[in-house]
Symmetry: D2
Subunit: 357 residues, 4 copies
């Protein structure tokens, strides 16, 4: 058990604060003899990196990863992989005012209620900066899963504006600053988010992650269900308030016939007529694409002054002046992909422990 | 790590199949000197018990719990508490046909893909019967939490029919067979579900669980967030496809000012103007009520014939003849309460390990 | 994490007190499609069973095991295996006096210091009766390891009387009531232990367990070393005070040349000239036999009166009248075998998770 | 579960290889608001540091520790503490020959059997260099335990030469290069070990660790026994082959009356007439000093040529030319202290989770 570790056999332990000297993670349990260098990890970090458009925080972090252990002559050795990313653009003075009061909707309050102390610089440990480590670990998880498994994410809603799912085009995801699969929606979002940003406010979003090529049989009854572990992984991303698998909440309104994915034989293999289940039945993967969605609340750090209280228990108003994402959901896309990759890599190892080939 | 255990310090391991001789659980880590007898557990099991109305399966199980260890002279001793419930109304012949093919939307397929074998009698281990053990464990978890914490659940939607939240009345929850807090909605549901049942179909539902009196500080960054653990716990209940905390998916459409829960001092304590967060910030409880919701898909075992495949890989049609719940979401209410109780008890112990009073 | 579970992937959770209605265990993570019935477990329990000679406690327990879950049509299904053994010969009145004072050298005191309460009947949870569950789990672990792995134990010392290792004969182990591999020593022990027994005293012993056929590569650096896990497993058996692997403490007196096991090629495979290492280097199995030894202290419950204190903190004298083993080390032989089997099964699964064939 | 983590609530994850850029550890679960700076850790590292006498390896490593996270304004924040030590004196060329063959008695062979790859530079992950991280973590564990708990170790035997226990003087431990509590024995050892060193050989040793002031009640039945966890912790130190608690193997030769620690009341508290148990009964601390001993085998890397095999499976002779300790047991003293500190800190947290004050 650990508060800052994720996974069981492919196990990631992260450390570091927003404005400390560095952040990093230790990956334990990675199979040996996998080709690995910084070049396998850096591109994924670059996708999550802040400061790449006006729609994300202007903090400039190169997020350059260094491998400190676990790799010899270009391959993993089966020993722990230590990854480290230096923090280079800390501006702790931005946060001086935050140290004495609590931003509404932020972890400022709860860290202090829990521990009686907190590192207020940039949100300390609660900063979304920690998610860089998740993305780095996810890059390694992808290598464990192998090329047969493809994990991609997209933003499907910003504020009240959802995409047209019929217009879904994966190419678009890589062509706009929103990871938006619908070119038209991306245009709408650009205007909308610009207004949000200029007004000093923020807005929520919905992210969808799809994993194709996942072998059937991953996951386990009863308390290691694949969907339960995915739900925990995604809900554990900063600012996430809801998670769905497959049809999710929409399934509540369906009748049994409408919700079940009928099967038939096709080319000697079991084929499905639909994927309401999102690739998971009874907590175990079916071989269909795994489809997960999560809702991200609006960034709590906004310029708009809000009623709050001080550390010494007086009423106050709080307005955040530091650098922040107007829609933290955007950069949650690569984070969500990484978390799904980590869950799947862990379950791949768990599965073959009990069920050798 | 374990596939069939839940929690870390308040740890529950369940075992048993739908049509085996018994089901049960072992609760490890329960604090000593807590008064405990079967009478503390049985009422909660009775709420979940099948066969109490025409809207749940007609299987008749008394679900009588026996404490086999961990209690001496009426109090817990700190050693493992073994709880056991005999299965008395197995009718395995009902399931003979199911053994040779896979119900669409059911775990039949995936258990077999994973393990190469399955116990088809009543769904074996994947049966919702296992949730009786969760309810039993939840009863003990409530005692660990103490009387200051109140955990209650309600059904807030059946099929497309949601309650009127303005009409919420906790008394109603105990007065109708749906755990419905809105008397008027309960009437609508009765007619609606009767139709579903008679047509041999099934329907989904949404359950809401609220925990009041939870002390602030429970939960932990980063991978032991209270909301992440709740999400995993609820998603791990049979047939659940979505989980929300507080505003959940609705938060995605909100702006920062609308979503944040402003604070002020009241009577020397921090008070909140709203609870969009559902009682959790940064993965740690705020002291406000914890609000979680989950979506239950329609029961996959229905009378309506559906296209499927056989174990020996031929096309077929499957119609389930055994006893089933037309809306498995109803009995998920006490199960959801129990899971939330277990998560909170576990986190209470985790919290005080690191943060002694 | 759990106080009453052992192992990670092949995970055993035990429960039950000496004088409760039953004891039992849940085995989680067992691979599917292994043939298993009570007949595979009972013979191992019979070896540990009390009352088979005058040298073990006279409590008469058939120790009849029942499989309550996890097996369908004679094979494991991959779901938890619940095993249960009824207690039939409890005589709780024997222990009335013990309830009010603490036996020197016994867990009476520490359970109460820890929990503020204890079940004094037959030692409650601290009774060696719990080890029946370990033996039952070990029987399943042997099936996981397969017929290529042979795990056998023997008693090599009782009190000051060690065996002549040159006279080691495995046949003898099954021919005397001491699991003694040296026929001559067995004769000496019989007289010696008869004297101990008649004088109302007890005596310690040393047990040696050898596992042959263990594949190389099991175990893991740094904190999951095979020898570390074996040491923990054996030290966790009741009354054990020391554990050795290979040469153990004798290695401290050796020079590097004398201790190292030289290697050479033989028939295309690596062969060793000796086995000082006891089959483990760097925490990982070499393929040589694994050799472990452990020291069992004399039973603390003896007829001889000893100075002690009462629960209400007065000086007293304690003499135990209940039924006890004059040398609890004898019955520790099958228990030690079982623990080694469980460690190896767990590490087999762990190994193949990270290192698929 | 993790191969490279230790502990459950006070949890240490280490990483790094002997000749990589750095080694380090992440400590998770440390209580908040404990004063901590590098100055609290460095002195313990300095005690373990190599190159301080001719009796340890001549590798020159300053072992300077840096705290990278988890501390703010001089106190722990409850978030993970990342510690890092740069490697500065790697001479990888020393190990070129070792890369192609296996040192007898060394983990060279088994790492490669397990993973199919190894980092041969300085033993890679299997190097005793990793133990610096344990010592660093142990320094933090001591702060968690507080000043009431004192953990000290000593070397009590080198090769065949044991100390005179009657001459035990803790002052001496800090006055000679062997951590030897017997001044006379230290003199004998100096000559003896000089001969061993000059002949290019090595020798084993026995270390004893004593923890005073440990509160009663730490540890837990059945599989989290304090002595079992200590045994696992100490056996997991490089080159350890045996572990004892209290009288250890000597207890096997004793009768019940001789082994039990009689109790009486003294000054209103329970007092013991002896401490054969080494401070632990039934897996739970009694409040008496905890006494543990472990045997360290002779260093396997010696100048003396030994028969071995090559990676490509030919007979060869191996003689190690790199820098090594003639008696690795010496530097195991601070490592043993650290491991005991970590076990106790973990159990302190575990205890208060279940048993709040």
């Amino acid at each position: 058990m650990s508060h800052n570790s994720f996974g069981h056999l492919f196990r990631v332990t992260t450390w570091g604060e927003s404005h400390g000297p560095a952040i990093g993670c230790v990956i334990d349990g990675c199979p040996p003899r996998i080709k690995l260098s910084e070049a396998d990890i850096q591109p994924w970090l670059d996708r999550r990196r802040p400061g790449q458009s006006k729609f994300t925080t202007q903090r400039q972090e190169p997020d350059e990863v260094a491998i400190l252990s676990g790799v010899f002559e270009g391959v993993t050795t089966g020993t722990p992989i230590s990854l480290q990313i230096r923090n280079v653009d800390q501006r702790s003075k931005d946060y001086a005012s935050v140290a004495q009061s609590y931003r509404p909707g932020h972890a400022d309050l709860t860290y202090e209620l829990k521990y009686g102390v907190r590192d207020p610089r940039g949100g300390g440990r609660s900063s979304a900066r920690e998610t860089a480590c998740r993305v780095a670990a996810g890059a390694v998880a992808r290598l464990v899963l192998g090329q047969g498994v493809r994990i991609r994410g997209a933003l499907v809603q910003i504020g009240p504006h959802a995409i047209d799912r019929g217009a879904w085009d994966w190419e678009q995801v890589y062509a706009n600053p929103f990871f938006c699969p619908d070119a038209k929606a991306a245009g709408v979002w650009e205007n909308y988010l610009d207004g949000i940003r200029k007004s000093g406010s923020s807005v929520g979003a919905v992210v969808e992650i799809i994993a194709e090529g996942v072998p059937p049989g991953l996951g386990a009854p009863i308390y290691a269900k694949l969907d339960a572990d995915i739900a925990g992984a995604l809900m554990g991303i900063n600012a996430v308030k809801g998670v769905e698998i497959g049809d999710g909440f929409a399934a509540a309104a369906l009748r049994g016939e409408a919700n079940a994915d009928a099967m038939h034989m096709a080319g000697g293999r079991i084929a499905f007529g639909s994927n309401h289940a999102g690739g998971i039945l009874g907590g175990i993967s079916t071989g269909q694409p795994i489809v997960a969605r999560f809702a991200v609340k609006p960034t709590s750090s906004i310029l708009t002054p809000q009623p709050s209280v001080t550390r010494d228990r007086h009423d106050t108003e709080v307005a955040t002046r530091g650098r922040h994402d107007p829609c933290v959901g955007i950069r949650a896309v690569p984070v969500g992909e990484a978390m799904l990759a980590c869950v799947l890599a862990d379950h791949l190892l768990r599965h073959r422990a009990q069920n050798p080939a």
